[in-house]
Structure formats: structure tokens, C-alpha cells
Symmetry: C2
Subunit: 223 residues, 2 copies
Amino acid sequence: MKRVKVSNNVIRRLPRYLRKLDELTEAGISRISSFELGHQLGFTPSQIRQDFSCFGEFGQQGYGYNVPALRAEIASILGMDRGFQAIMIGVGNIGRALTENFNFKEWGFRLIAAFDVRPEIIGTMFHEVPILSMDMLAQFLRENRVDAAVLTVPKEAAVPVTEMLTANGVEAIWNFTNVELTEPNSSTLVENIHFSDSLLSLSYFIAERSDERAAKAARSEKN
Amino acid sequence: MKRVKVSNNVIRRLPRYLRKLDELTEAGISRISSFELGHQLGFTPSQIRQDFSCFGEFGQQGYGYNVPALRAEIASILGMDRGFQAIMIGVGNIGRALTENFNFKEWGFRLIAAFDVRPEIIGTMFHEVPILSMDMLAQFLRENRVDAAVLTVPKEAAVPVTEMLTANGVEAIWNFTNVELTEPNSSTLVENIHFSDSLLSLSYFIAERSDERAAKAARSEKN
């Protein structure tokens, strides 16, 4: 695929478009205008047209976007059709919760193995994923293509495990440890799950609503 | 606090500023220019000045930002000093993982109770949080101020539990269920954790790198 450089903000919006298009598909909607799509997502129509124009022409003047075609195109841009293979490091609570509740396949990833240090779970399967010993990791990485590692180890293991992964050729890490894994200029791709960013946004909105109510109450007292 | 309407994008960036300022504090840095802050975050200096100007004047021409003062101001804007109280619904793997690994207090929330339906854990404590029966929820909500509920129930329970929460006055939900909880115009504040958005961004970057390498290889073959 020929690639143009796309801004980080556009890339971050693509998964949201994808989710919205999946919702529309489920609701039986097969085309949508940039106006309506923008309305549903809280973006302006021109922002939407601009975002999609980075990747070529999807829409048709006066007709709108074909939902399945646009969905397929965005999925392909996101690499969901590449058959990426992932491993998970650390089968504690977060690792278990992810394996149980998150459908990697739906998003184009196959979870081919998990690794842990606890003898009592090594050699078992968890939701069709074999749990192997960390001692096997280097060999496993030599023998299998691994596009990404899901890092769900305890905090103190985060950096040493990352060093081991990068030394063995893993170039992308989905990081759940809340630890900064790499230097700014590292060539390893790291995507962090920051729970706090999400909670703090919620916190902002709770505080905002509370202030608005207090202001309203103050105004009505004055009158 | 007097509030100006702030765009959603600015609100979403505030937690990232906060994390960066915490990093700077840990590194012993007490002031920083908008240029340097922008460089470290991948924003332009003017974007940073514009973001902060929504909330008043923080910086000083030629001096830069005072890191602890800016940190305190952003924390306050985010409502981190309000003493918000939260409950958790569902003490399965995700609930456990969150309670163990995520420090609610650090982000201004006190987790005062958790609720579940399984008799074997009801009445126990998990990391200093009492686990109560779902049957106690309505009464608990009458007797305690609850600013937010963390929703970590199985998919099928997501909507009924949300209805019960909103019927009992809970107005903010931190949603881990991957289920759309409310209608677009609902007055309940819902903040979703979308794991897929994060994984798909990583997927994009893996695909991009792979394409760049293929293109490079093709070019060098031609020469």
C-alpha cells in the first residue's frame, strides 16, 4: 500500500470512525453523509472530509459515504487485514481480564501464546491460548513471527521484560503497566493504556456539572 | 470556580499535560518553556499556549511555566481536589486488576465500596475495599455520596446495572464493559475505556513501518 504521512490526530480518530461504522452497520445503515457522521461523532463535516481525504476519495458528492466500503478501507489502513500475531507477557489479573473480555481477533490480532513465571500455570491453556514459561520466550521469538507483545506484567518487571523483548526483535508493545518503557527516540513502537487519562476526563465533567449547578443555585437565590 | 466552556479536545489533553508535569517534577525540573513542553509532547508551542489560555494565565513571557503551579492548577481544573467518591460494580478480573494496579487516590478518587453478586466474596475486603452485595446497592446510594461508578460487570449485566445506577442517582460511569450504555442525549456522564482504539493505533504504526520497509527494499532492489 502506498502511504502518505498522516498526522497523529487523524490516526487516533480512525478507530473511533471504525467503531461508529460498525454501529451503523449493525443498525442496518449502509450510507451516511459527512454531515450526519459528523453530528453523531461531534466533529464538523469538513473535519471528516479532511480526515478521509488523507487516504484518498471515499465519499461521493450528494450521496455520502458507503458505510461497508468506508469501513473496509479504514480497517485496511489500520492494518486489521494483515494477520498480525501477538503474545502476552504476564497472565495476572489484567492479562486474564483481557484474554477473557477482549476479542483480539475482532481487531485483526491473533494471540498465539502467553508467558508467565509461575510454575502452577505454565503448560496450561487459558481461553485457547497456551501459557509458556518466560524461559521459553527467546526461543519462541526465534521460531515464530510476533508483531506485538501485550505487556501485562507487574510494574517492577516492565523495564527488564521490555529490554528482553526488544533484544529479541519485538518491535511493538501494547503497554498496560503504567511505566514509561522506552526513551523518546527508541525505535520500539509503544502504545500505552493510560487509565488515568480516561478517569480524569470523567472527573473534569463531574466537576464541571457540579460547578454549573452551584452557579445556577446561586443565581436563583439572588432572584 | 468560574468556568469557561472548553473544547473536548483541550479537556482530553489535560491529563497528558498532568502526566508530563508529574514526570518533570520527578526529574527535578521546576520550570519549562512552552517550546520545550511542546517538543516533549509533540505539540506546537502555540497550541500549548492556546490550551492553557482557556483557563487563565499560567506562563510568563521569557520565563516559561512554573511546573508545580501549573500542575496544581491543572489538577484543580480536572477536579482532582474535590474528594470524589466512587464505587465499583463487579469484582471479576477487570475489577480486581484495577483495584490492585490502579491508584484511585492518586487521581483524586476514593473507592469506598465494591459490589458483586457472588456470595463467596460478599462481605470480604479486597485491598481495603469492602465487597457488598448488589442487593445493598440502592440503600448504599441513599446513605453515601457517590460521584461515580466504575462499571466492571460482564457484558450482559452492563445495561441493567446502568439503569439501576441512574435510577438511584449515580450520574457518572467509568465504563469498562465495551457496551454502549446510554442514548446520545442521556444526562448520565459516561467515560468509556476502549481498548480497541489503543490496539488499532498500534496496529496502524506496525503496518506503516512494515510498508516503509517493503518500499525501501523495493527501491534498493531496483538500484
